[in-house]
Symmetry: C2
Subunit: 289 residues, 2 copies
């Protein structure tokens, strides 16, 4: 079983409108809601892959009913609102910061984690920490885990988590820039100095993987149009599955790039296009470098 | 006691951002939420006035805890999202249509209404009907009410409600246009043909009141800057209080225009600025016409 942890789960609300008019009033007839947050997306992709997965985190308000394995909290989980404009295909996003977490609620999550991790072969820690959660919260969980942990977060929680020795971090270009304190130049040297395996996602250019056993680059066979939200979470899901199974690094990397491209090819985060995944799975170019 | 009914109550979510960028991602640190919907605003204004009030309607999801006198439903109450841009002061609104109401849920609201109306001296029916509610839903409640009913809605529910003989309807210019099937011209003749008392709100130009006892116009003593959302609900609250107390029509009209201007002068719907209200209360110009 793979265990995913989403401390800042969200209610993802999507509005489809003809055109977004600043200062206007929009009657929205097409409303779609789903539980979201990066770890929830990873969970959904693993489920679509047929992988057994346990998901936990914090859930408040309406999300309490939707995420039964999560620790209930007094506050309300955050919303994300995405306004899709059908006239020009643009997406406008509004992201709330999240509910305040009390020390007792954090302790309850740690207890839930200790309980669930005993059955896990790999752990995924995903997304931001909500206000009130300790900045070393992810570091705490990494230190308590007897199995490999993939850490996908940003800023201070990433910096502190890194020091606790995760099995892999998965920064994108902006997150890597903040972590290094400069724009990445020579990815090989930049990632090596971080001291843990790094899978850096490079948008349409694929990904770079740095490990003690070697470094690899991978690119999808062709560009894919669609919704990039959730592509990074599909990438993480592939690494979680591969690390749990003891798969070789370059094989995991190829799988992750294929799955990520197949996620771009669907309108909803947390899902992937199965035909695209099958088509790409054998054709991702991986090279050492 | 005044009874208010809000069948399509909402969770009003307000985001304050520096500037709204279409196609951009906004991290929203300033999030404000409150129960809303026109009848909830009327209730809040009456409460601020010190008037005893009972509020009912439908509440689903997170609103169930927030609106305890409401009939709980299986669906989720709608959200409204308002994005306030501090750079240019604009407000961009997104309004969801509302949850689906079952026949059993509608019957439960009628039962709750029958129960509460026995203690009421006036009733306010406010806002849209949610999907699934009968289009003659307001007409049903008007026919069951032993006390005067103020109806503030739009479209077919207003048309059908009108036929049931409310004590007053409160259309704005657009609602009156839809009800008449043409732009209003001579307000006196246009309102007279509707067959019930009409208080038509005219934005910054004040209001027009048509009754069997006479017709009056009223204007605020000066223009007020601010947030017009909820001004119409303050106007309705004044009429509910006046009708319940048997106050003379032109006195109610003056009070409603003053209270409505005082509601524009606050940032949040359902509240009014007490100093502005006191200042305007004696200085609204009312004339027959």
């Amino acid at each position: 079983v793979i265990l995913t942890v989403t401390p800042n789960a969200a209610l993802d609300v999507t509005y489809r409108v003809d055109a977004l008019r600043a200062g206007g009033t929009h009657r929205v007839d097409d409303v779609h809601t789903r539980p979201g947050g990066k770890g929830v997306n990873v969970t959904d992709v693993l489920t679509q892959l047929g992988e057994p997965v346990h998901a936990t985190g914090f859930a408040g308000g309406d999300l309490r009913d939707e995420l039964p394995g999560f620790v209930p909290i007094a506050g309300h989980s955050r919303r994300t609102v995405t306004v899709l404009s059908t006239s020009d295909g643009s997406a406008t996003l509004f992201n709330e910061p999240g509910p305040h977490i009390s020390p007792g609620e954090w302790a309850a999550l740690v207890e839930r984690f200790d309980d669930l991790v005993t059955n896990a072969r790999a752990v995924v820690l995903s997304g931001s920490l909500p206000p009130g959660a300790p900045l070393d919260g992810y570091a705490q969980l990494i230190r308590r885990s007897p199995v490999p942990v993939i850490l996908d977060t940003d800023g201070e929680p990433l910096r502190r988590g890194l020091a606790a020795g995760p099995a892999l971090i998965k920064p994108n270009h902006d997150e890597l820039t903040r972590l290094l304190g400069r724009a990445p130049g020579d990815l090989r040297a930049d990632c090596a100095e971080l001291g843990v395996p790094v899978a850096a996602t490079l948008g349409a250019h694929g990904a770079f993987l740095s490990t003690p056993e070697g470094t690899w680059r991978a690119e999808p066979p062709r560009a894919v149009q669609g919704n990039p939200t959730g592509a990074g979470d599909a990438f993480t899901a592939a690494f979680a599955r591969g690390i749990a199974a003891g798969t070789a690094w370059p094989v995991i990397l190829a799988d992750a790039v294929a799955l990520s491209a197949a996620a771009v090819n669907t309108p909803v985060a947390g899902t992937f296009h199965e035909d695209t995944y099958r088509e790409f799975a054998d054709h991702v170019r991986v090279q050492e470098g």
